[in-house]
Symmetry: C2
Subunit: 262 residues, 2 copies
DNA sequence: TCTCGTGCTCCCACTCAGCGGAAGGACCAC
DNA sequence: GTGGTCCTTCCGCTGAGTGGGAGCACGAGA
C-alpha cells in the first residue's frame, strides 16, 4: 500500500467498521467529508467504503446528500441478545409499572463501568431525564447504576470508586461515602438518588435477580428504576419501592424460565 | 486469488457484510461453521472476518462458542432514522392508547411492499400477534398495512394486488375486493381486519398524517393500529377508532413541528 | 483406552482487491 | 467571474486478503 500514514487499523474490514464508528448519538447524520475526517480515513477510501456500506444497507443516503444509519443495521441491532431476551420479557412489567405510576420507568444492565439503558417508558410529567434507550450513564450517579454497582465484581467497584465524576453538585464523589451507600443498597435491596445526575430528578431502583437451576446462585441480571420530579420524591419514592420489587421479581422469575437466558 | 469458486461478492467488505447477513430472526445464534455455510464463505475466511467483527463489537461470542449480534451494532441500529424521529415522537401516544385500552398497539411504516413495525406496546390479553418490533408483514393482511397501502403510490398498489399471499383462510386474496377495501379505507380513514393474518385476532388502524408547511400536501407517514381478540372485535373495534384518531393526530402534529422530519 | 467425527484455529505463499493521490465536476457565495 | 467546498471518477502499484491444508480440542461410541 502507498504511504501508510493512516496509523491505526490496517485491514479493510477494520476501516469499514471505523467508518461506522463515525456515527454516534450526536452525529447521526454526516456528510462524506465529515465521515472521512471523523474516522481518519482518506476521503477517497471513505467514499468507496461508504459506497459499499450503502449498497448493502448499513448506511443510507438522504436527499440532502448526508448519510445516516440504514434500516438493515437497525434490523440486525434488534437481534442483539441483551435486549432480545431481557427486553421482551421485561416489557410488559415496565408497562405495568408505568400504568400504575405514570412515571418514567427504566431498565438497565451493567456494561463495563457504565449503566446501559436497554428499555424505557417515558412518564407524563416533564422530568429532566437524560437517559434514552441505548445511552450509557455513570454507575455512581443514577439509581439503576448504584444497584448494578452494588452487585458488581470487586474490581469493577474499585475501578469506579477510583474515578467518580461530578455530574451535578449533588453527585456523590467521595469513594468512602459511595462505598457506604453500596453497602446500604445490598442490605435494603434498593438504591435512591436525588439530583445526582440531573437537577430536578430523583430516583429509586431495585435489582432484577435471576436464580438459575435448583438452589443455584442468585445473579443480578438488570436493574429496574423509576424517576420522579424532586418535589414528589419524599412522598412518592418510598411507596414506589414495593411496586418496583413486584415487577422485578416477575421479570426475574420469567427470565429464569427462559432457558435461552445465558 | 486462488480458485474463485465463491460466486457473488468479491470485495472484502461485501464478504464481511455477507457474514452479518447470516443472522436473522430465526438464526440469532450461530456457530462458525453455520455462518460460513449460510454466507457461502470458505470456513477459514469466515473465521478471519468474524474475528475482526468480534474485535470491533459487531458480533460477540457466547460462552458456548456461538456468535451473536454484539452491542455495538445494537447501539448503531438505534441511530437509524425511521425509528429515531418517529418512535420518539410517537412513543408517549402509544402509551396513552395502551393505558386507555390495555390492548396491543402498533406503529408501522411502509417499507417497499411490506409493513415495517417500528414500535409496539403489548397488551394484557393473549392475542396471537405475529408482529414484533422490526418485523415485516404483508400489507394486504394487516390493519396498519391496509392503511399504508391505501396511501401508497399506484405502482406499489398494483404490485401488491398482483401477488396477494394467503396467510389464513380469511385473508383477502381477490385483487378486486382488496381494491374496494382500499377505496373504503381512503373514504372512512380507517381499516379493519379480522383473522386475515392470524386466527383469533382482529384489528383496526388509522393513518398518521403529516402536513408539511402552510397549506402543504398531507402525507401519510405511518399507521397506528390496535389488535384485539376476535371475540371482542364487534363490540370494541368501532369505539377504538376515535381513540386511535386522537393519538394519530397528536403524532402527526408533533411530527410536523419537528423540522428534522424529512 | 483407542478410534472416529465434528468443529475450530493457525499457517503461509500467491495474487488480485484495495489503496489513495490527482484531476475533474457540481454547486454555492461573494 | 473567481474562489471555495464538497463529491466523484480514474488508474497503476503493492501488500492485505485469501483459502487449502495441517493440526488441535473435545466428545461419542466401540
Amino acid at each position: 500500500m502507498a504511504g501508510g500514514s493512516t496509523g491505526a487499523g490496517r485491514s479493510v474490514t477494520s476501516r469499514a467498521l471505523r467508518v461506522l464508528d463515525a456515527f454516534d448519538v450526536d452525529h447521526a447524520r454526516l456528510t462524506l467529508s465529515e465521515i472521512a475526517g471523523r474516522s481518519d480515513t482518506p476521503l477517497t477510501t471513505a467514499h468507496r467504503l461508504i459506497g459499499e456500506l450503502t449498497a448493502w444497507g448499513a448506511l443510507s443516503r438522504r436527499p440532502d446528500g448526508r448519510y445516516e444509519i440504514g434500516r438493515k443495521l437497525w434490523d440486525l441491532g434488534l437481534l442483539a441478545p441483551v435486549q432480545a431476551e431481557l427486553r421482551q420479557v421485561a416489557s410488559p412489567f415496565l408497562l405495568d409499572v408505568h400504568t400504575a405510576t405514570r412515571d418514567t420507568v427504566h431498565l438497565a444492565v451493567r456494561d463495563g463501568a457504565t449503566a446501559l439503558y436497554v428499555d424505557r417508558v417515558s412518564g407524563r410529567e416533564s422530568v429532566p431525564v437524560v437517559s434514552q434507550v441505548g445511552s450509557r450513564l455513570p454507575l455512581h450517579a443514577v439509581g439503576v447504576g448504584k444497584v448494578l454497582l452494588a452487585a458488581a465484581p470487586d474490581d469493577v467497584v474499585e475501578q469506579v470508586l477510583r474515578s467518580l465524576t461530578r455530574e451535578t453538585r449533588h453527585t456523590v464523589v467521595e469513594p468512602a461515602r459511595l462505598a457506604r451507600e453500596l453497602a446500604e443498597v445490598r442490605r435494603t435491596g434498593a438504591a435512591r438518588t436525588s439530583e445526582e445526575m440531573s437537577l430536578g430528578a430523583a430516583s429509586v431502583a431495585v435489582p432484577v435477580t435471576v436464580v438459575r437451576g435448583a438452589g443455584g446462585r442468585a445473579v443480578v441480571a438488570a436493574a429496574l428504576g423509576i424517576v420522579v420530579p424532586t418535589h414528589r420524591a419524599e412522598r412518592d419514592l418510598p411507596r414506589l419501592v414495593p411496586v418496583l420489587e413486584v415487577a422485578a421479581r416477575g421479570i426475574g422469575r420469567e427470565l429464569a424460565r427462559t432457558d435461552e437466558f445465558r
